[in-house]
């Protein structure tokens, strides 16, 4: 058997092309970071004042302000400022009812597809649009720092992000004019940063307490291989919750002292900002004191570290319960771990480190700044994807995927912690005589019942020919790509009737809304879709051209001079269209070239087959 195994370093590299460098972006709940890797050296990009962290806060006034300026506005005009938008990514208006009262947002009427919209500073905005504003600010910072245009990025997401949240993140990037080369899970990016930068090897855990989500992942690190073994988390547990608990206590103290007006969104935002200060302060000191001042009604608050730790201990315990579960899933004892990497600013809280050290039996690693480590990993992966690399990153699905069956039970098609990319199929049948349509309801989650899992999409396979119950054979296939995004297809096997959907979350943006948003956004006046299609046509044409040239070099003697001349002319015609912007011309020229080389291809195949029949080894064809 012939298997072409390349020696390390000889792996065919992707074309670097003329597209330039790509950046790595950690789009965080509280802060975002952008970094770039060149020749394996990572630079975290800073603003003019040397700050790496861009607060994930956007202020909407006459214009849009992102970052520190927006955070400053949080105290003056909180009604026009939005923070922690990542918590709402991929959530429908329905989901948010559960969060109402917990989060200091004001909701407007939902968008057409059911996606939640926030009322901020007189505008109605979806979480995707708000995240796009943060991404634009990061891309702008990168352009200034690097001095050239940036239109491609690796963006990180929590490992525990569901399909809806991943899709929303990709849409936000597209809206900001960035092509997403890959969505990488945050813990994997952190491991990449440690593995490549610090050379750690063995079995590692990544404890990632982000602003709004918690992930715990187990990875095996070896030279050049980063293999995720298991991951678990809680999409509603984060550093923000620490702020919430502290803020709630301050607001309760204020109420008991009878100070000021009842709690509204403005006061809640101010209390949260103050609570964050208290958390940061208590990570370094034993006592904290501050004043919450709203409309001239100040209240004084104090907190000791001991009291703070009692407040937040239940949250830390919740995270450790997930750690135990993930280790049990993988059948690994804490003692088998070579180390634990910390991610997220909230892992600076001493209680988190102490409890984790006690659980693991050793202190966690924090050589790389926990606020920057994810962006560092994302930048390394961005370079690997564009410039080529032998590093291998093998990730898994964080949540099980399935479809609804009789009685509201979820039939799992892909289990959690399955390595991706993956494709699985299962057959179902009709349960009524003459049933002509079947609804496919796609779900994500670990529980058995439909109403306990997250509904991702619903679509109908119709046109099933009349048959008795149980006779139809409907094959439902799930495919999860390397970004963790799901595609579902259904096919009636007796007739070949097919239905295929890319799972757009039930309440996500549809293509029309996306197109409208792209038109509305001034930065992307040029039609994004046209540019995308032209680029794709050129990539395909270039591949055809390379294929023909390689064939001419290898088997050119099968052609006479006239035949060769014709093919070369067709190739030159393709080449000529590549510098233009006419997609139709590119595609037509490439097609003519393919058609014009048919006879050449037949002769090449004939010779190959004759050689094989003659018993000659076709090793010549091996590399």
């Amino acid at each position: 058997m012939l298997l072409d195994i390349y020696e390390p370093g000889e792996t065919p590299l992707p074309h670097e092309g003329d597209r330039g460098i790509a950046v790595g972006i950690d789009l965080g709940t509280t802060n975002s970071v952008v970094a770039v890797a060149r020749d394996g050296t990572v630079e975290v990009l800073r603003d003019t004042q040397g700050r790496a962290l861009l607060p994930s806060v956007v202020a909407y006034g006459d214009d849009v302000a992102v970052g520190h300026d927006a955070r400053a506005a949080l105290l003056d005009r909180p009604e026009s400022v939005v923070a922690s938008i990542k918590r709402l990514m991929g959530r429908g208006a329905e989901d948010l009812k559960a969060l109402a009262g917990v989060l200091p947002y004001e909701f407007g009427p939902p968008a057409e597809g059911g996606m939640a919209r926030l009322a901020i500073g007189g505008r109605l905005l979806t979480p995707v649009e708000i995240s796009a504003d943060i991404l634009r600010a990061l891309a702008q910072r990168a352009r200034t720092a690097i001095g050239r245009d940036i239109d491609r990025a690796v963006i990180t997401v929590p490992a525990y992000f569901d399909d809806a949240a991943r899709t929303a993140t990709r849409d936000a990037a597209r809206l900001a004019g960035l092509e997403v080369l890959r969505l990488v899970n945050e813990p994997t990016a952190a491991a990449l940063a440690y593995g490549l930068d610090k050379g750690v090897e063995g079995l590692y855990a990544v404890y990632d307490l982000g602003g709004g989500t918690f992930d715990f992942s187990l990875l095996r690190l070896e030279t050049g291989v980063f293999q995720v073994l298991a991951t678990g988390g809680d999409a509603a547990l984060g550093g923000d919750d620490i702020d919430h608990i502290v803020a709630e206590r301050m607001l309760a103290e204020r109420r008991m002292a009878g100070i000021g007006a009842p709690v509204d969104a403005r006061l809640a935002k101010s209390a949260l900002a103050l609570a964050r200060l208290a958390k940061e302060c208590l990570s370094a000191q034993d006592d904290w004191a501050g004043t919450l001042d709203m409309d001239g009604a100040p209240s004084r608050h104090t907190l000791t570290r001991a009291a703070f730790e009692i407040l937040i201990d239940p949250l830390v315990e919740r995270s450790l319960r997930i750690c135990r579960q993930v280790l049990a899933d993988a059948g690994i004892a804490p003692a088998e771990l070579a180390g634990c990497v910390l991610v997220g600013g909230s892992t600076r809280v001493p209680l988190v480190r102490h409890r984790l050290a006690a659980f693991l039996g050793r202190p966690p690693l924090s050589d790389i700044d926990p606020d920057e480590v994810v962006a560092v990993g994302a930048a390394l992966q961005a370079e690997a994807l564009t410039a080529g690399s032998d590093t291998l990153l093998l990730d898994v699905t964080p949540l099980s995927l399935g479809i609804e069956t009789m009685g509201g039970i979820v039939e799992k098609i892909i289990d959690r912690n399955t390595p991706i990319p993956v494709a699985r199929a299962q057959e179902f049948t009709t349960y009524e005589d003459g049933q002509s349509a079947m609804t496919i309801h796609v779900l994500q989650g670990e529980r058995e019942m439909v109403d306990q899992c997250r509904s991702l999409a619903r679509f109908v396979l119709d046109g099933i020919p009349p048959m008795v119950a149980g006779a139809a054979r409907i094959r439902v296939s799930f495919a999860v790509d390397a970004d963790g995004l799901l595609t579902v297809a259904a096919e009636e096997r007796m007739t070949g009737k097919q239905a295929r959907v890319e799972v757009r979350p039930s309440y996500g943006l549809n293509e029309d809304e996306m197109a409208r948003m792209l038109r509305d956004s001034l930065d992307n006046a040029e039609d994004d879709m046209v540019v995308r299609l032209l680029a794709e046509a050129k990539v395909e044409a270039r591949r055809t051209l390379n294929a023909v040239r390689a064939a001419l070099a290898a088997d050119g003697e099968l052609l006479d001079d006239a035949e060769r001349g014709t093919i070369e002319a067709l190739a030159a015609a393709v080449e000529a269209t590549l510098s233009g912007r006419d997609r139709a011309a590119v595609a037509a020229a490439a097609e003519s070239l393919e058609a014009g080389t048919k006879i050449f291809a037949e002769r090449r195949m004939d010779r190959g087959i004759r050689a094989a029949l003659a018993g000659r080894s076709i090793d010549r064809l091996g590399i």
């Binding site: 058997m1 012939l2 298997l3 072409d4 195994i5 390349y6 390390p8 792996t11 065919p12 992707p14 074309h15 092309g17 597209r19 080369l181 890959r182 319960r321 135990r324 579960q325 049990a328 059948g331 992966q381 690997a384 994807l385 564009t386 032998d390 291998l392 093998l394 399955t418 390595p419 990319p421 993956v422 494709a423 199929a425 057959e427 495919a479 390397a482 990539v539 395909e540 270039r542 591949r543 294929a547 023909v548 390689a550 064939a551 290898a554 088997d555 080389t597 048919k598 291809a601 090449r604 195949m605 190959g608 087959i609 094989a612 076709i618 090793d619 010549r620 064809l621 091996g622 590399i623």
Partner: protein, 214 residues
């Protein structure tokens, strides 16, 4: 169900005959991952999991070598290598990586490997949903009882330890059965191992819960 389709296709294909490269249309060796002429990635062929990972078919597999092979192949075929390529190459790379993951997941552990070998021999255990073997039934009921009676983490740990030790001895039985081509014994041992594995998984989950409560 994919596996059986793959296998029959593999049998009907004439061995050694070149296939046409989808990109340059010239001849490519049937198992080649890349076209020797234009160097473009080729779609996965219909071959069994052992052939895909380039290891001899059998229960006794050097898992270190298997893993090294899997990594080496993913290094060439994973979609990360094709991030800047066109949509067709990306799609082919994805199906290659999917096939590799399927193959590696099926073969990496003894239970999966045994079940796959039985499926190749037309003796698959997928349809075997209930325990028909009375000895196995009694054994499973006793184990479950012991696990249910364990009140604390230490008790569950003892159950896990005993089950893992038994699993290892079944693996030895499997090696002997497959080595002697005794599919009846292999099938029986595989079914036992499957129930044992399920019990171990449940016990581990319960162990984690008990630690969390404690």
């Amino acid at each position: 169900m994919n596996d059986t389709a793959d296998i029959s296709a593999a049998v009907t294909r004439a061995p050694g005959a070149p296939v046409a490269c989808w990109s340059c249309a010239g001849p490519v060796a049937p198992e080649a991952l890349f076209c020797a002429t234009c160097r473009v990635v080729q779609p996965p062929r219909a071959i069994d999991h052992f052939a895909r990972l380039g290891v001899p078919r059998g229960f006794a597999v050097d898992t270190r070598a298997l893993e090294a092979r899997y990594f080496a192949l993913q290094r060439q075929l994973h979609p990360d290598r094709f991030a800047t390529r066109g949509p067709r190459e990306k799609a082919i790379s994805q199906s290659q990586a999917v096939s590799l993951n399927d193959a590696y997941e099926a073969l990496k552990a003894p239970l999966g490997r045994a079940a796959y070998l039985l499926a190749l021999a037309g003796q698959g255990i997928d349809d075997e949903r209930t325990i028909r073997d009375p000895d196995l039934l009694v054994e499973q009921m006793e184990r479950r009882e012991t696990l249910d009676e364990a009140r604390d983490a230490a008790g569950v740990e003892t159950c896990i330890g005993a089950a893992v030790a038994d699993a290892m001895s079944i693996e030895a039985e499997l090696a002997a059965a497959f080595g002697a081509d005794d599919l009846v014994a292999a099938r029986r041992a595989t079914l036992r191992l499957r129930y044992l594995q399920k019990l171990i998984d449940e016990a581990r989950a319960r162990h984690a819960r008990l630690l969390g409560e404690g």
